[in-house]
Homo-oligomer: 301 residues x 6
Amino acid sequence: MFMHNKRLQYTVRVAEPNPVLASLMLEQFGGPDGELAAAMRYFTQGLAEEDPGRKDLLLDIATEELSHLEVIGSIVAMLNKGVKAHISEGDMEEAELYLSLTQGGSSHTQAILYGGGPALTNSAGVPWTAAYVDSRGDPSCDLRSNIAAESRAKIVYERLINLTDDAGIQDALKFLMTREVAHQKSFEKALYAIEDNFPPGKLPGVPEYASMYVNASQGEGDMRGPWNDGPEWDRVDDLQQVLPADDGDGTPSVALDAEDMAALTQLAERTRSDPSSNPTTGADLAAGPGAGRTKSEIENA
Amino acid sequence: MFMHNKRLQYTVRVAEPNPVLASLMLEQFGGPDGELAAAMRYFTQGLAEEDPGRKDLLLDIATEELSHLEVIGSIVAMLNKGVKAHISEGDMEEAELYLSLTQGGSSHTQAILYGGGPALTNSAGVPWTAAYVDSRGDPSCDLRSNIAAESRAKIVYERLINLTDDAGIQDALKFLMTREVAHQKSFEKALYAIEDNFPPGKLPGVPEYASMYVNASQGEGDMRGPWNDGPEWDRVDDLQQVLPADDGDGTPSVALDAEDMAALTQLAERTRSDPSSNPTTGADLAAGPGAGRTKSEIENA
Amino acid sequence: MFMHNKRLQYTVRVAEPNPVLASLMLEQFGGPDGELAAAMRYFTQGLAEEDPGRKDLLLDIATEELSHLEVIGSIVAMLNKGVKAHISEGDMEEAELYLSLTQGGSSHTQAILYGGGPALTNSAGVPWTAAYVDSRGDPSCDLRSNIAAESRAKIVYERLINLTDDAGIQDALKFLMTREVAHQKSFEKALYAIEDNFPPGKLPGVPEYASMYVNASQGEGDMRGPWNDGPEWDRVDDLQQVLPADDGDGTPSVALDAEDMAALTQLAERTRSDPSSNPTTGADLAAGPGAGRTKSEIENA
Amino acid sequence: MFMHNKRLQYTVRVAEPNPVLASLMLEQFGGPDGELAAAMRYFTQGLAEEDPGRKDLLLDIATEELSHLEVIGSIVAMLNKGVKAHISEGDMEEAELYLSLTQGGSSHTQAILYGGGPALTNSAGVPWTAAYVDSRGDPSCDLRSNIAAESRAKIVYERLINLTDDAGIQDALKFLMTREVAHQKSFEKALYAIEDNFPPGKLPGVPEYASMYVNASQGEGDMRGPWNDGPEWDRVDDLQQVLPADDGDGTPSVALDAEDMAALTQLAERTRSDPSSNPTTGADLAAGPGAGRTKSEIENA
Amino acid sequence: MFMHNKRLQYTVRVAEPNPVLASLMLEQFGGPDGELAAAMRYFTQGLAEEDPGRKDLLLDIATEELSHLEVIGSIVAMLNKGVKAHISEGDMEEAELYLSLTQGGSSHTQAILYGGGPALTNSAGVPWTAAYVDSRGDPSCDLRSNIAAESRAKIVYERLINLTDDAGIQDALKFLMTREVAHQKSFEKALYAIEDNFPPGKLPGVPEYASMYVNASQGEGDMRGPWNDGPEWDRVDDLQQVLPADDGDGTPSVALDAEDMAALTQLAERTRSDPSSNPTTGADLAAGPGAGRTKSEIENA
Amino acid sequence: MFMHNKRLQYTVRVAEPNPVLASLMLEQFGGPDGELAAAMRYFTQGLAEEDPGRKDLLLDIATEELSHLEVIGSIVAMLNKGVKAHISEGDMEEAELYLSLTQGGSSHTQAILYGGGPALTNSAGVPWTAAYVDSRGDPSCDLRSNIAAESRAKIVYERLINLTDDAGIQDALKFLMTREVAHQKSFEKALYAIEDNFPPGKLPGVPEYASMYVNASQGEGDMRGPWNDGPEWDRVDDLQQVLPADDGDGTPSVALDAEDMAALTQLAERTRSDPSSNPTTGADLAAGPGAGRTKSEIENA
């Protein structure tokens, strides 16, 4: 069960309203690496987790991320306080209000549609979607997803810090950014506290394909490094070797019964293309300058 | 530039058509951990990458994932070959065709809308979205995202293998699953070939918040482990300490100019709620049995 | 700031696993009227609210809805416990596992993609989207939206109760359903505690259009009732009166400068259709049996 | 069956083209509270409604909303008339055209992708989705949703009016805004013309939970009002009372058979975390300045 | 302005309720080729069209498609009439109701969430999105899009007809299917009534690239036909010729100023990968059976 | 199987970085008519195609479109090279960086979220969705969809060319635009190489409805042209004739069994509206100035 105290986890001090900056900050409120995505990622994992230690960890961090959602949302609310009042009260010259909302970001939508409240969108106004939540119910991949998610959140906070010179906002963003670093460390510990965590899951790989490196992009710029070279790797430079990688002929097949085969044959015949034709086409009828055939060519055909 | 050979990277041999199984397989065609997501994740990273080694790696694997998209899509096409023919030719009893498409999965939609072709949806019929692609343009987080994505793809293949007894499909899925393991290994090498890859990005964290663990979920089930306990961690069990974590008062504030303040005051006054009222409400007017107040109570009020 | 206790707000006792029923329950976890939508609707409103009473109310209920999200998510996790184990361990006959996941709902996707954890999707597997959150930053419409949302959530719980005979699940659903009724009552009180809450917002309507009822759908089945008849209404049965409703000519116009007009004229001329032509079309070229013109007619044209 | 007359329901007179303003107006064309959402909300309800009076009402207003969609779409088309011509004819300096489309809103996308036609997106360019339509097939909640939707639409029109000084546009927006007020009044009448409309639906609530108010957000700022205080309410300030609210232990449980239990035990064992370990992690390997452990500490571990 | 008559454009006679079939029919109500997509495609084009003939055509067909939306929605409402009543009244055994809703399609979601009303989703329950509407504001491509859309709608109706043996539904579907054929013919006429409709738009192509056919997919199965062979085509079989197609070196470049170059160099250096390293990775630490390196190898490294 | 060479199909030379222009170019990277949509449209069709000639054609063009995706993505990467470096290195004044990202388009989101890499969004920042891919598994409609898609892509390239004066970008865009023209020609040939391609699919239309033109939009502006007039058409101007078009009564009906009928009757009775009532409503309670009834009127009622 959740409980709440109206004090924030970190004090928010904003120097002055700025609806455009507010709309940029939304990236960490309703964006793919924002705090709702973080909270929901860990919360959904925590509910289904069997291991008591990981369950506790996931619920601890999920809960803290909700508190971070509140901090970043409060920054947005402060930055929008002026525009919220003016668009509600209609007490400003229309042209002036219009100008204040067309300075960039998605500030116009934030004011018109969301009335200056923090909206669960990213900085372009795209609504948050649970497609951002990549919980899969297996700790050896979920913990890796969490590590990656924390690193992405850290970077986005870093970019926002690089964008604003409001000291109070910078302080709060640095707090939030650092907490992502701490969370990443916790998830790293939890991953490596599982004895056999690689490969993820249970099924072993097929040995002959587990060390193969397919050099599928060739030409100038082909490089070697520890990721494709050395004793760990069977590097395939001649792509004919994997065309196919097994000993078959590289074609797809399915065994059809007579009824299916009859229908398929009928379909194929009905929609057969005639490779030896040269039909007049709609484009031929219509072709203006620049097309392959001129109208007179068509007319004289 | 891309080139293509019509042979597959792995031979696909399907024992018999099964449109329901086809719809489950779509999870790795158009699902969040499927091959299109993988290819696009690495491709978008590769185009903007400055480091020549990583660029080559990303384009190698992006290209191979496109070949995997072709393998899994070919499995789907084979499994759907019968239903595609029958729904096109209309040569089967309606009731029989209807039954064959209501056996589960999203087979009905795959047949009616996509005509039995492999569709870029997941197994529930949800269209693929680029919201699945978490490329952020920083190698210290993108490589972690790639590691996590490969581990998720591995697990989903494992689950599909656990679901089908068609030996040819199992073979192809095991090949694809194993390639994810190999790719994960490559991305791990590339991550650790960057000297300072943790914390991700460039900005250091704020020291006092980098080792703090907030025990935000308490009560029975509270656990200790290397993720929240030991000399690396400053564990906060008394949540009053982080209410707020800084030395402020935990409230949000913004400095408003006179014009903004006037509008805000007007707004607040206009929409003020009267805490001492006990207004009759729409629900009171309408309350049937089961509501807090009865109609006679309202009428007699 | 949020805090959490690992005990639930209501005890969840599930009689036996059932992944199909689990997928139906998701409607209230990640569906449009589910608990995440509720929590986020009130939370986003609360952060930007100026009135202290409403702010407290919104944060109280937002917090409780998160606890409800945990209850319904725990029901889903319990119902999925068997399938989660089997699809992870691969210890069941493939065919048997396959059958257990194709019994309806979106159980197949829940197992393959989400591994049996509670997923933020609705019962069809559609990911939750913030498009469900209709917070607009004005209390006279937000409170009405909240009243409506609570009534929708109540109905969906009622339907789920009608669908399951598991007594433990029914108990928990009845608790959750009743809490929506209580929340609706609170929001009703808060709406009517604002003195002038109708029309919503600040601007008055244009008097001559505020009592007009346009009988736009006519024919058999035309009805009268308090919504369109009586002294409050100016009923328009003769639609010519509102074609247009003002004294203009009902056409759209814009004043263009010379440069715009020149470009527009050029565009109109370039793409002009010739109403007096009877062109041969692509369809004419291709028309098979069933089309309006036969091939011979086209050939002889 | 629908019929159409090419005259608008309200005459549209636009003073001059302005593609940025056009993109803001889209909020009521393809936004969540726009006219398509309104029309589709009532139309889908009307088709399934059993009560003849409500069916007629819903079809009347659905039809009128389509006419409003036409009015707002015509405003957009007029505002875009210049840019549509220039981007099609390519008769303007590239740099000048570029500048005209980067003045804010989503005007660039409206011109490049939609060619200046009215697009079914909101003002940020987000495509309309039926996720906005909250029809649930029960009149006691659908009518409340309609009341709320009309109040939201009214507010968004009010904000657009506050943003533009074009008198002709203002007139049309005021007409549309007022019609929402009139529609809200009709839906209110229809709701209260159902005798027992509260609680919505049929099932009564559980009496002991219907009047409970859970003060889940505490601390400074805790308030009392008619929504949580007084004889109608059982207010819970000590949250231990609802941890859980029933007489159970607040934990989730499910009865598993032996086969499920065996698989679950195996899964739990396989993925067990070792709370007494202190594993070296990937982050430890990689930690640069700012991380908890230094490299030398790891190397010497 | 739109008007409505409560009679349908085609009489709907349904033999018996069937919620699963209802959910399949939704493909043409709220699916990508359904009637709402059609109506909105033509309506948005019509509002911005300059040519009076095309404008009239587009509004005629847009209006008729709305009437078709009503017909297909009425079929859905009839098929759902039983389940709507039972899930609302709760008068059926839970288990029986549960079974009736897990027979396939998205019938469970249609009942639980939408209460048996016609929902704007496709047959998998995916909400309609304006992403389906491909209006671009240029008649030479919009009319081609309309032709294609009508042909897709025709096919989907054909498939639905092949799936049901209810004679009344078949009749209505055949009417709707045939109307799509008629609409396609109208759009074909309108396309070819524009004199220069190919290439679409205004700019001519670059002559040397307009007749080039790039044989990008090679190997067994390479074919010739009128689409890539003959005097109209410059066929490129040796892909080296188009690597690149111009006379450059096929690499991307941008001129950076000194400040940009300095930052880029710093970034590249900071995130440089060391190709000569062979770092121990997270996967190495964790590798269980099946990974490339064994634990003992790592420990002894 | 796919292979890749790091040289581009067309050399990309960008004059100077410009993140705003970069965000506009995304329309053809991750927009609805962009190169990913094209590649995936043809690739999904190709995998399921039975006809060897069309299969080859579809895979040829799908592969080439992937190469185009690489060209347009490389343009974006070049245009973003400066901002990517500065937002990563944090070496620019915050205010200066902020200004550079609020000049229009979705440049702010591209930098903050995607770090300057090419993102699979359109120019408004909307993520790519497979809802853009309209493959239906029938060549007579898929080829028409492909023709339409190529024409749309051509137009969008034309508009982008009209927007930029960077000669290197213009060159590359003209190459890409022209290739769409060539592809359209190929698809036209392939369509007309199918003997009976109209009507699409297999089922003939119902003769009496195949030539009917319903003049559903009337009033001033009604026009005649080859699309609705002449011997091919049965034009319906008197809409009573199609109310309904068949010989029924235009109402929907379904045969219900006794159990369904009983439940429906109960539902209808329970939710009956009373047309003769004039209930006091929530709006009446709350009506401020501008509403139909004043408070005193309500109180005195």
